[in-house]
């Protein structure tokens, strides 16, 4: 079942700025990375899903509910963590998260229990009675995540959750998001402009650029389809490259390495045969997984 489905979703702001253009995408449960440069339309997409702004054209359904008409039903099942700082400095995290739990319709005692439980899950238990103003950036991000979780949503929308964190804090936040997606059974959409960061924890990726869909797929199908073989020989690299090209393999030169696209099962054998035929010393022959980033750059240049 799809958790999010859009059909030709378009959003044009007054003044003719197109934030989203003809976006059609289906999203399955799991951890989903929504990547794109700043201004690519990620935040607009999230706001439309929350029913904060209405699309200009096209349709969107979250859990098969229309956020434009049934806003309350969608918001009851979705938790949102904004990109910017949004916490008051002069209240404690426990109090603040409890208050927002009540805003989501939880009864008083349930809100208090859920608040301390979610704060414990995000790793703020001892500190939860301290005022938020004294927290570090990492702790504030955790409070923002806890308030999105407090009403036990089925889907989390996280806008740049690693913003402003140091490398250690980034890793901890990403690990936490991964745990929420896998152990808590809550689907997560993670917005980021850093592809390398989200690809580590996501099941699938949606890449948008200038409001248009670049690519949407499961990570697994993105990487296996385009595995590479890296070949290194002591000398005669050019000779080998020419021979492999003759054999109909796609070869790219990367310094002393030859990268061969593994387009068929016997590519491995054909390379080995070519090396022995030319009587070259083989230093290494190994399989390389494409980083997802390379896929997008290749696609983008192809589009141009």
């Amino acid at each position: 079942m799809n958790i999010i489905a859009t059909q030709a979703l378009t959003k044009t702001y007054g003044g003719g700025v197109t934030a989203l253009s003809d976006l059609t995408v289906q999203v399955e449960p799991g951890v989903i990375g929504l990547v794109g440069a700043n201004g690519a339309g990620k935040s607009t997409f999230i706001k439309i899903m929350l029913g904060l702004i209405a699309p200009t054209a096209g349709s969107v359904r979250v859990f098969d509910i229309d956020p434009v008409t049934d806003t309350d039903k969608v918001r009851a099942r979705v938790g949102y963590m904004p990109e910017n700082d949004c916490l008051p400095p002069d209240v404690s995290a426990a109090e603040f998260v409890t208050h927002l739990g009540r805003m989501s319709g939880l009864p008083r005692t349930a809100a208090r229990e859920r608040a301390s439980e979610t704060l414990r899950h995000v790793g703020l238990y001892e500190e939860r009675y301290r005022q938020i103003g004294g927290y570090s950036t990492g702790m504030k991000q955790r409070v923002k995540l806890a308030q999105a979780l407090v009403h036990d949503p089925d889907l989390l929308l996280l806008d740049e959750p690693t913003n402003g964190l140091d490398p250690g804090g980034r890793d901890a936040m990403l690990a936490l998001i991964h745990r929420i997606g896998t152990e808590f059974g809550i689907s997560v959409v993670v917005c980021s402009h850093l592809l390398g960061e989200v690809e580590r924890i996501c099941d699938s990726l949606i890449a948008i650029q200038g409001g248009r869909l670049l690519r949407a797929d499961r990570i697994s199908s993105m990487t296996t389809a385009s595995d590479l073989l890296a070949v290194e020989v002591s000398e005669g690299t050019d000779q080998l490259a020419a021979r492999l090209a003759e054999l109909g393999l796609t070869v790219t030169r990367d310094d002393r390495l030859l990268l061969v696209a593994m387009d068929s099962e016997d590519a491995h054998d054909r390379i080995l045969r070519a090396v022995t035929d030319l009587e070259l010393n083989l230093h290494r022959l190994d399989q390389r997984r494409h980083r997802v980033a390379e896929l997008f750059t290749a696609k983008e240049t192809a589009d141009v």
Binding site: K47, L100, R102, M103, G105, R108, H121, D152
Partner: protein, 286 residues
Amino acid sequence: MSETGVIHDIGYQRYTGPRLGRGAGIGALYVHGLRAAFGLGRSAKAKIFPWLVAGIALLVAVIIAAIKSQFPEITFSYVDLDNQLSFMIIFFSAILAPTLVSRDLRSNTLPLYFSRPLRAADYVAAKFLAMVTAVWLLLGVPQFIMFLGAAFTTKTGMKGVWHEVQDLVPAWGYSLLWALLFAGIGLLIASLTGKQAFAAGGIVAVFLMTTPVVAVLAQLPSSAANHMAGLASPITLINGVGSYLLGSKIGLDIGRYGPIFVIEAFCLIAACLLLLLARYRKVSAL
């Protein structure tokens, strides 16, 4: 054999209890605002001012009740109490309105509210009602204390008590009018800025800077201008409405322009609420 003394992480538990929806959220926001008005659930510093104002109002009421019981010929009505406390209400509103709305703007908390079932209108309604209640309590409770003083010392038995009730209830209505107008104007000004000091200054300015205008208009050689001078400032506007509806003379002489005062007061409150709503419609879409 089970290990004892080990705390097991039972993992994430899904919430299966009741979800109360939008109405409960509005109710919770209203109670939260009302508590914040008197500093409850906030720091000790935030409690000082509201309780100082409330304390003075109560003290005034107790003193008046005591004096009236000793010297029945003194005519200090329930309505007079509101007018005597007008400066206190101005300062109370100037602190309260920014506490209710400017803090949310300052710390950018609104996206967290509006990504929940709450709408802009719900937020405005909850904050407005919280402030109306707080200001009304500030006036209504001292009035009630005056009533208790009068009721227990009356010399005409139940008839005297009933007479006091007939005085108290319209005075409560008059206090409500104060609360509505102060809440409307105060929240509207406070919703424009995230800086609490600016908002407080703006509110005091609107209430105090308009009084000289009234004084000038009242000096003009036209009787129509004199009678309508009160329209220029919120406090004299309320006085005018009170004079007309309660039939007693409060402040300026309004002549036969009473209905105009009522219409302006109504329009002013309605306009403040509509502007607040428009303001939050815009903010909630961001």
